[in-house]
Subunit: 218 residues, 2 copies
């Protein structure tokens, strides 16, 4: 078992990689990929606890995403060898404090807080590479209290996985255990304490489920 | 020896923590700390190689900073115990692609690329905690080709180290090996290939020196 959430040293999260999602938030479709970092302290493995809503936000959104687990170190990785650097996948949520992100954007400040709280990167665990036969045809879904909110297919990605690996590794070396979040399809929206969020990949036994609670201060 | 650069899982970099530096870039003085993440792949230990200027930037700045090495895991750390979570220090450079950062800010995008290239976090190594007697009176300096460009004292920080630890740990759990970069004093400016950058802490044997070269693609 690849415990990338215990050993990995970075989470690179790509933004606006599905045209419909870029549009739903009023953003332009990017002409090259862009990304931000989430801290590994935000990992929350399926079955180990609830997603916590921070007290300083009132608009926490779910963004279901396919995660790419890196299997070996590489820099300036080219398109044709990019998939050799992939050891597997995970189903993930890029939890986002949308109100804090909007304030940060208005002030031209980093997105780090809005993306970086503890429990803001829920994951299903490790999905071995051979479980996904066609990376360009993976359907992701996300429901809140049993209602489907997001359903999208990786065939809608603006930049596919090899292009993301090529681009990111031209800027920062990718290392074994690193995770790339590949962007979210449309349908993002708020979650509230007391709700239950469920996500899955159609046809794969990777469902994950998390309770939502209000963060308690120590 | 604490090899935090090999084991640590995040670099939390505080912005605009010296009033003079906030002003020199035309920014407001923040009323609460703000921070971004640098990837651990950007570490460059003194003596292991040069700082690389990426081909897609023509304005790379030095920002000399005091780094705080975290010694144990903590969340919601309070002011009075904050220093118990510190295992030591490092002298660091928060290398910044200022032109790419300006474009990101104008588009309300993350700062990740401009702060995250390989070699963009040069460090001196580990400085044991007892080497710095008064954390509120540490003078940092940085020279380029022998000319002093930055000289500042931690007594000019807007938010001191305990306040930074309290604030950051209220958002994301700090873990052993994590690094906090505490912001840069005024005097930031460009470096070019062929130049040599030197930094130190007055009165401590922690000088570090790096050649600047143009990045080669693999
Ligand atoms: Mg960031
Ligand atoms: Mg996302
Ligand atoms: Mg800085």
């Amino acid at each position: 078992m690849n415990k990338f959430w215990e050993t990995g040293r970075k989470i690179v999260a790509v933004g606006r990689n599905y045209a419909q999602h870029a549009k739903e938030l009023g953003n332009e479709i990017p002409s090259e990929p862009f990304f931000f970092l989430k801290p590994t302290s935000s990992y929350l493995l399926q079955g180990t606890g609830p997603i916590e809503i921070p007290l300083e936000s009132s608009d926490i959104h779910h963004e279901v995403e396919l995660g790419i687990v890196i299997g070996k170190k590489g820099r300036d990785i080219d398109l044709k060898s990019a998939m050799d650097y992939v050891s597997g996948y995970t189903l993930a949520l890029d939890m986002t404090s949308r109100d804090q992100q909007s304030i940060a954007k208005a002030k031209s400040l980093p997105w780090t807080v809005s993306k970086g709280y503890d429990t803001f990167c829920p994951i299903s665990g490790f999905i071995p590479k051979d479980k996904i036969k066609d990376l360009n045809n993976v359907e992701l879904w996300c429901s809140v209290d049993g209602q489907i909110k997001q359903k999208g297919n990786t065939n809608q990605m603006i930049f596919d996985v090899p292009h993301l690996i090529q681009y990111i590794s031209s800027i920062m070396t990718l290392e074994s255990g690193d995770l790339i979040l590949t962007g979210t399809p449309s349908g993002v929206g708020p979650v509230k304490p007391g709700q239950v969020i469920k996500c899955g990949i159609t046809g794969l036994d990777t469902d994950m489920q998390f309770d939502i609670i209000l963060r308690k201060r120590n």
